[in-house]
């Protein structure tokens, strides 16, 4: 028997999409039956009470979680999001309902051994509920009590060799697209970059030392499968410098209808036979392609590497061999000054080995932002307040037309004093000798 009546939530058990309500009920029943005979360390009926409080919110149209909650583990300044229910008498099972962020492996590949071990810990010491995964990338363990936090941390570090993720004004958990592991478009090893930089900056991740949060994300190419340009302050996006590789025989196979355009992504509708002229040549944003005499040509100097032609004919067109990445900075959600996507800062860096060129850019930016960033000011906002020029200067990037969508259209231009012959120290009396009052 369910502990609380949930007539509203019950309606979310119907329909084809996997129902979170059915799943939570399944967990509630599992805990009630307790087939493993566990001595549950938080209330057995925690998932029942979660459904109960959620049903109450569905009736009120208002959240029933108190503001904030400051909990954690010794040695770290973040990693756990504290939460307390505002009706603890009615729902004692979720009086404490803290979330633990666990750092996920890059690309989110798992073995079942690892996941089972994690489930065993969480079964005993938590609610049995999770988010796979948080938007930033963490494995999210949803709901436990304060006394269990150190126990969970001990178990995951000692028995699973796994650390917490980030929260608060620090480096949050980095994330990558699956990159070279299973994609022919990957211009560098995004998972290795994500892992390497996560390890390099463990201190910055666990102990808040920044004006505000800071996120890294690594996309292997401009398709942006981890959405780095929209969801990270420091976005690393793979690219190449030389020509797109063309396999003319494979192009012919597309034209002949042997290969499906876009790998079959549009197979649910009849879009007619593949028309290379209409679907590729004429859609290229910079008119860099030619289709003449059954041969495809690309003017490398005009190509902006948007990926469209490669996406459309993946068996015929391939990324170049001279690979690296672009660094873009400043993406953020709207609060406070409005949403931003990342802006191009370094058009091309090497992205191999220990990723030293990328780290140098990171550290130069941090040196500046940690000093100059205001309280709770994201990098993107600091850039707007203090200018892109300043960021380019601290990064050591020579400004170029690549850094702008268009030049400014107001003439309110600052010059450095040393750029102007004679400097700014002028004598009015000298001026008056030439111009009477």
């Amino acid at each position: 028997m369910a502990k609380h009546a949930t007539p509203m939530l019950d309606q979310l058990e119907t329909g084809p999409w996997p129902s979170f309500v059915s799943d939570i009920k399944q967990e509630a029943a599992m805990r009630a039956a307790n087939p493993k005979g566990l001595d549950y360390q938080i209330p057995v009926d925690c998932p029942d009470d979660l459904l109960g409080v959620l049903e109450l919110s569905y009736n009120d149209g208002e959240t029933h979680w108190k503001h904030g909650g400051i909990v954690g583990v010794f040695g770290y300044g973040g990693g756990v999001i504290g939460r307390y229910c505002d009706q603890p008498e009615m729902f004692p099972g979720v009086a404490h309902f803290h979330t633990v962020r666990l750092n996920q492996p890059a690309g989110k590949y798992y073995t079942t051994d690892f996941l089972r071990q994690l489930c065993d810990i969480w079964d005993l010491r938590g609610s049995g509920l999770t988010n796979m995964h948080g938007a930033t990338g963490d494995i999210v363990l949803l709901g436990t009590t304060t006394p269990q936090l150190e126990e969970i941390f001990w178990e995951v570090t000692h028995n699973m060799d796994n650390d917490l993720g980030g929260s608060g004004s620090n480096l949050r958990t980095p994330a990558a697209c699956l990159g070279e592991s299973r994609c022919e478009y990957a211009c560098y090893d995004t998972q290795a970059a994500s892992y390497n930089l996560t390890m390099e900056y463990q201190d910055e991740l666990h102990r808040p030392a920044f004006p505000y949060k800071f996120k890294f994300k690594f996309d292997g190419c401009p398709n942006g499968c981890v959405a780095a340009m929209a969801r990270s302050d420091f976005s690393v996006v793979g690219t190449w410098k030389d020509s797109i590789k063309i396999d003319q025989e494979a192009v012919a196979a597309y034209v002949a209808g042997e290969f499906k355009p876009n790998a079959g992504a549009h197979s649910g509708k009849d879009w007619g036979a593949f028309d290379i002229e209409a679907e590729v040549i004429n859609r290229c944003p910079s008119a860099a392609m030619k289709w003449e005499g059954g041969k495809l040509a690309i003017d490398r100097s005009e190509c902006v590497r948007c990926m469209h032609c490669i996406n459309t004919m993946p068996r015929a067109l391939h990324i170049g061999d001279e690979r690296g990445a672009s660094i873009l900075c400043g993406a953020k959600a709207p609060i406070l000054d409005g949403a931003q996507m990342s802006s191009l800062v370094v058009p091309f860096v090497e992205a191999k080995g220990d990723f030293d060129e990328i780290k140098e850019v990171v550290e130069n930016i941090w040196d500046w932002w940690m000093e100059e960033g205001k309280n709770r000011e994201r990098l993107g906002e600091t850039m707007r307040r203090l200018s892109l020029q300043k960021l380019l200067e601290v990064v050591g990037q020579e400004p170029s037309a690549h850094n702008v969508q268009e030049p400014r259209h107001n003439p309110y231009i600052f010059f450095k004093e040393e750029e102007v012959p004679g400097g700014w120290d002028r004598d009015i009396n000298e001026y008056r000798k030439r111009h009477q009052r």
Binding site: E13, E27, P105, K108, Y110, C183, E184, Q202, H206, R231
Partner: protein, 381 residues
């Protein structure tokens, strides 16, 4: 319930403590065929909705079956995922950036058995546990947030509306009929945790009433200057009030300047803002993150308010379905929702979808607003 120690000694908290070890190295978890061909993939194909094959330069193949997931899931469900991965995939699996699950195998004949197994698994309530889909030009999973399940600042729920929308657009999760992929995301407040500001369709929880002020607690619970600095429109200022004969430091809010973003509540627990009848959601459209053909775009607000209609948000789901259907009928191949709207013009988008254009949709936030008005005589009647 007897306390079971993990080995941690609360009397000596720093003893034996392990820190700064980070995540596990990802290579430990790569299936053998992935490990062998990493960085050497030649091409891929989508065999059918939800099923991909990647072919290595070596000729090796890996078949991937992508299945939908509720993101909020129990350990029982994760164990079932593990059981499937053990049975069909030698104990390997992965999760995607949109929180789907991917099962991989190295031969095509294992795919049919895997699919049949997945299709047979249903929850007691009847919903599918592992629907196959989410590839190509369709609708994949909805990137979403905490909602009433865990967060203190939401103006709507996350898991509920996501289930309601996915049920409504389910056929597009399992089909490739659209001109391009349609990414739907949801955030339960303006913090927009996730991807709402850059999705083809974004759903965001909003408030419509200024915060209440718990004067008695303001100075005790909050750092008032932080709350003042948290307001994008400078509606918050410090002030004094008399309460039971005592003068106390508190906050004043200019209601006519407040646009109910709730950021001051994030900073100050004495400024609660949520309200059953006031709160609801907006719909935004036209964002994208990829650089394919056109540059990344922000999504734009096209419906300023829809009430929270628990538990299934019928007005919201109906409008989203309608937008997708109109887009599917009118856009050219490869055109993302935002690309299509920019080609036909916003007036045409409102005409075709029948969405009402109201004054709320005109930007009035700082300098940038001007650039969103129309400085041209080009428009369609």
């Amino acid at each position: 319930m007897a306390f079971i120690s993990s080995g941690y000694n609360p009397a000596k908290p720093m003893e034996g403590r392990i820190t700064d070890i980070g995540p596990r190295e990802f290579t430990e978890f790569l299936p053998p065929v992935i490990k062998a061909n990493k960085g050497k993939w030649a091409y891929h194909e989508i065999l059918e909705p939800g099923v991909l094959v990647h072919v290595g330069e070596s000729g090796d193949k890996v078949f991937t079956v992508r299945v939908g997931a509720a993101r909020l899931m129990s350990v029982t469900h994760i164990r079932e995922i593990c059981e499937i991965a053990d049975k069909h995939c030698d104990g390997y699996l992965r999760f995607t950036t949109r929180n789907n699950v991917e099962f991989m195998t190295d031969s095509e004949d294992k795919v049919a058995a895997l699919k049949a197994d997945l299709a047979a698994r249903k929850f007691d309530g009847g919903s599918s546990k592992f629907p196959v889909g989410g590839t190509g030009a369709g609708v994949s999973n909805i990137v979403h947030t905490q909602g009433w399940v865990h967060c203190h600042t939401p103006a709507t729920d996350a898991s509920g509306p996501v289930k309601a929308v996915m049920d409504t657009v389910f056929s597009d999760f399992q089909n490739h009929r659209l001109p391009a992929p349609v990414r739907i995301s949801l955030a339960c407040c303006l913090n927009m945790c996730g991807a709402v500001h850059c999705s083809d369709i974004g759903i965001v929880g909003i408030h419509r009433k200024p915060p209440m002020i718990d004067h008695e607690w303001t100075d005790q619970l909050c750092e008032i200057p932080l709350a003042v600095a948290s307001c994008p429109t400078a509606a918050v200022r410090p002030s004094k009030v008399e309460l039971e004969g005592k003068k106390i430091n508190t906050i004043a809010i200019k209601n006519e300047r407040c646009m109910y973003c709730g950021n001051c509540y994030t900073m100050c627990p004495a400024l609660p803002i949520s309200d059953g009848e006031g709160d609801g959601v907006v719909i935004m459209v036209g964002g994208k993150v990829s650089n394919r053909i056109s540059q990344p775009k922000f999504s734009k607000v096209v419906v300023a308010y829809i009430p929270n209609e628990t538990p299934r948000w019928p007005t919201l789901t109906e409008k989203i379905k309608h937008i997708i259907d109109i887009y599917a009928d009118h856009a050219m191949k490869y055109e993302r929702l935002g690309d299509w709207i920019e080609r036909i013009g916003w007036e045409k988008f409102f005409e075709l979808t029948g969405l009402e254009f109201t004054q709320h949709l005109i930007d009035d936030f700082r300098d940038h607003a001007y650039y969103t008005w129309r400085q041209t005589t080009q428009f369609k009647f």
